[in-house]
Amino acid sequence: MNVIVCMKQVPDTETLIKVKPDGSGIVTDDIKYVMNPYCEFAVEESLRIKEKQGGASILVTMGPARAVETLRTGLAMGSDRSIHLNDPAFEGADGFATAKALAEAIKKEQYDLILCGKQAVDDDMAQVGQSLAELLNLPHVTLITKLEISADKKKAKVEREVDGGKEVIEVGLPAVLTCQKGLNEPRYASLPGIMKAKKKEVKAINLGALGLPADQVGAAGSKIKIMKYSSPPSRPPGKIVTGEILEAAQKLVKLLREEAKVI
């Protein structure tokens, strides 16, 4: 089974995000970049499938030069090779343009399954997996927390999280599945893994190699455009409710009823 894993490099979730004074973007100095946490579940699942069924785990990302670090992390975890879509023309892509470029790169590969994170924790769009499936004319299932591949490798049985419970779904392969926390516990890269990763393939694909017209990728191929960034509305300073426990509890209940009016 060849599994393609789409991944993204994002700021670490502990990063304090600051908006530039002119609202044109966020301040990117001092940001530590990591593999998107949901992509870790996708990489781990591809490795488990490979260990059980054989085949290869192939990583694909789109991003600037630094995104190679994230591919190396995945290769160090155990993936076999990787593809890096990197070209100034790809910059500023929305979910649609990103899916379009990824689909074009994936079409050149032999695969049985595509795994994505359920969303990237930078722009939180949660869009690429489903759009990619549509552009490749494949079925998709989002938010999976369990995956079983049938013995003949033609079908998958997955569990997914829905409001107030879960669904068990059968889907024909190939398909696109987006991974949710709970699917597995991602492994850490071992030292030998890190050494081996240095020799594994990172295939760079630019606009020419991808073969799409320039107006179908990046900002030019996007259907939505970010006009402005802003900081979240600031909250007025809070009150510390003091007193003995009973007194404090009584005061708090009164404040929630009479001042905040939420009870």
């Binding site: 979730t13 990063t15 722009d123 949660a126 049985k157 829905v162 709970g182 259907k223 939505i224 905040a260």
Partner: protein, 330 residues
């Protein structure tokens, strides 16, 4: 030229979800501003009885009835909606940022080759008559305003609980039209084998009006009982921080934060939660925040409207009693 504001009516447990009416209320304001029609589209099986309520809000209700639409599947819903949208070419299509809305709309947007703003918290019509969507990024650490290309419809998902619901005055009643679902059974590539409901039939965190959340300070899964008891009294949903989930005390579906759920309740009560950046990002847009923590320096107090610096195990049971008294009086 594309015209009309369409709202996807989402059905859950044989009822239309509240977010649908929130969207129709917002849709009405935009329809008036643009001088366009407000349309609700309802898919399901044996859902005719639900069309009347939608017609109180919308100028027109399209509904499709097919056994294949009884249970949501991406392929069936996407196929019916894509056909309708291609035929009628509305200018705007809105759905809730729910599990179904989030699964469906990116697929639909790709099929129609149009723009989609996901998980929005505000919508407006710009001077040029185009949709402007506001949404959080980095789980709420920043916000962006999005504009759309020339492609239509402009699509957006809106979070439950953020738009005001304006009940109609009952003077108008929109027209109701049944449409042919035209579903090709062979085109359905997923099968729902089973739906397993959580043991406690509770309001989902993303839709809850009140959330009581526990963190590292809870110390064990059994200790969450005190929060369950409080939640019972004030009709809240129980959430948890990543620390509590990673310790195995709660299911990952209960996690609030950047790698869990982003929530916007009216009241968020954080118990024994220190307030890591990634947690604050997930609940910082709550209307009112209460923090109970014995560490006065916990960052959660910076976000809280009200704080009690005390051991949660001493405070929460007393708080439950006080709420019980208050609510039995009123």
């Amino acid at each position: 030229m594309a015209k009309g504001i369409w709202v996807f009516a989402e059905v859950k447990d044989k009822n239309i979800r509240k977010v649908t009416f929130e969207l129709l209320s917002q849709g009405r304001k935009m329809a008036e501003k643009l001088g366009e029609e407000l349309v609700a589209v309802l898919l399901g099986s044996e859902v005719e009885g639900l069309t009347g309520r939608l017609a109180e809000y919308a100028d027109k209700v399209f509904w499709a009835d097919d056994p294949a639409l009884a249970q949501y599947t991406t392929d069936a819903y996407a196929s019916v909606l894509a056909n309708l949208l291609k035929e009628h070419q509305p200018s705007i299509f809105l759905c809730g940022a729910t599990v179904i809305g989030k699964d469906l709309s990116p697929r639909l947007a790709a099929r129609l080759e149009t723009g989609l703003a996901t998980d929005c918290t505000a919508l407006s019509i710009g001077d040029n008559g185009a949709l402007v969507a506001k949404r959080p990024v980095y789980a709420g650490k920043a916000f962006i305003e999005l504009g759309f290309s020339e492609a239509r419809p402009q699509m957006a998902q809106i979070r439950p609980n953020v738009l005001e619901m304006v009940p109609p005055d009952g003077s108008k009643k929109g027209s109701i039209a049944k449409v042919d679902a035209k579903i090709d059974a062979g085109s359905l590539r997923t099968t729902v084998l089973e739906v397993v409901k959580s043991a406690a039939a509770k309001v989902d965190l993303t839709e809850a009006e009140i959330i009581v959340s526990g963190g590292r300070g809870m110390k064990s899964s059994e200790n969450f009982k005190v929060l369950e008891d409080l939640a019972e009294v004030i009709k809240a949903t129980v959430g948890a921080s990543r620390a509590a989930v990673d310790s195995g005390w709660r299911e990952h579906g209960d996690q609030v934060g950047q790698t869990g759920k982003v929530v916007t309740p009216n009241l968020y009560i954080a118990c024994g939660i220190s307030g890591a950046i990634q947690h604050l990002a997930g609940m910082g847009s709550s209307k009112v925040i209460v923090a109970i923590n014995k560490d006065p320096d916990a960052p959660i107090f910076q976000k809280a409207d009200y704080g009690i610096v005390e051991d949660l195990f001493k405070v929460v049971p007393v708080l439950s009693e006080e709420f019980k008294k208050l609510l039995s009086e009123s």
